[in-house]
Symmetry: C2
Subunit: 230 residues, 2 copies
DNA sequence: CGACGGCTTGATCCGAGTCAATCCTGGTGG
DNA sequence: CCACCAGGATTGACTCGGATCAAGCCGTCG
């Protein structure tokens, strides 16, 4: 039985679904299962959670703070694949080896659960199995949107897309608190730090956004941003 | 039970694995299941197989020919997410709506199977269920490599990576037959057709490759290409 | 209050894009 | 069999968006 959910409904508690069979088969079994079997762990700013090439042992849930996942080229160029904030599950992979590195962006608290434990739970819980698959599928969906951004959007469009996406994640909606630095944003958007900075300034001049402080952006004209989103 | 395989072992027949329980539980149950329950269908060059936004009904296996999947921006800029050739499964998604469009690059023969049929088969066949997940995870892995390419590699590196990837897919290894046009390659690599063409010419001048005809590339110096691959 | 790290701004450069001809080459019809 | 044609590919000249290089600025924390 396929059980599909949007990224948001996975991330944010939803009003207690229809319980089936057991207590484990509710609307968001993955983060629940992970919370049940996982262990709380604290990572300080910029510390590595796992590294590319390491064996895959655990799956993670962000309790507080934020995490970046990225790949490096041999000369140090970095591409951040995604950011993970409170409520996000990350590090769920199927293969033996980590495909990327994960680091805490800020001091963070994370639940750490063994993948094999989750997978064996999924053997008796169809809805958990479905959500494991569904979570990977959702990561893929995000990656595909990101491909379009990196391959075909101009700097302004990239930044606008990024801001709208960040706004969609919190329920703050119009005020975006950025947990990450300009360098992180640049490496996520395939730009340089200078271009990110200039583009934000330009959007502020055009009155699409306000920047009360460098880590806080107010999306005062979302319509304008969406227009840029192509 | 997790059952992990590389993209290649999924794509190319492997010497009959260890049969478990039933005949369906072999080494590559997904393409087998798809072949069993699927219907052969022919698509002519440039015809659409499914379109972004349409409901997801089927899953596909390329029998012959080649397929591209892509997203468009409103002004027509196109980003190709991946190419699919003989033996590849594509169009396996978890959500309700197609996230991208699929088109035949050349006249192609494809097996078409209903997703719900496959999913219900997976209910009684753990190894099929595992491979459904594993297939999506593999698409994600490829997408992540592609993110690094689009976000951080220069034109020469992109083309070198592309050629090595294409070579890795066939077992031809050193002679690559390209089913797609320069425009397709450009839209896959986030470049223009002119840049792709110039870069290939440059690689030929540098004696990393030979181009006996525009659709056939000989990777005469793979080491040089790998060096470019960063 | 000073210093450091992160951010912004300015000046200049350059890799890839754009615009514009050709140049194949594979397919067609005479 | 050959000449022609159309669409794809290559090449050239020039442009431009974003990168690079280089100062400053600002806010936070000791």
């Amino acid at each position: 039985m396929l059980h599909q959910e949007t990224y948001h409904s996975v991330r944010h508690p939803v009003p207690m679904g229809f319980p089936r069979r057991s207590a484990a088969s509710q609307e968001r079994p993955l983060s629940e299962a992970l919370t049940e079997v996982g262990v709380r762990h604290r990572y300080s700013r910029n510390s590595e959670i796992f590294g590319e090439g390491e064996p895959v042992e655990n799956v993670y849930l962000v309790v507080s703070g934020a995490v970046r996942t990225y790949k490096l080229l041999s000369d140090g160029r970095r591409q951040i694949g995604d950011f993970h904030i409170q409520g996000d599950v990350f590090g769920l992979e199927v293969g033996d080896e980590r495909q990327f590195t994960a680091e805490a962006i800020a001091d963070s608290v994370v639940m750490v659960a063994s993948r094999s434990a989750l997978v064996s739970m999924a053997n008796d819980d169809t809805s958990l199995a479905a959500e494991l698959w569904s979570h990977t599928a959702n990561d893929l969906k995000r990656a595909q949107d990101h491909l379009l951004l990196l391959g075909r959007k101009r700097a302004q469009e990239r930044v606008a897309t990024f801001l709208l996406d960040m706004a969609g994640r919190n329920r703050a909606d119009i005020i975006v608190e950025l947990p990450m630095s300009r360098q992180d944003i640049a490496d996520y958007l395939g730009l340089t730090i200078e271009t990110v900075s200039r583009t934000l300034t330009r959007l502020e001049d055009d009155e699409a956004i306000e920047i009360p402080s460098s880590r806080r952006i107010v999306l005062s004209d979302k319509r304008a941003l969406r227009r840029l989103n192509a």
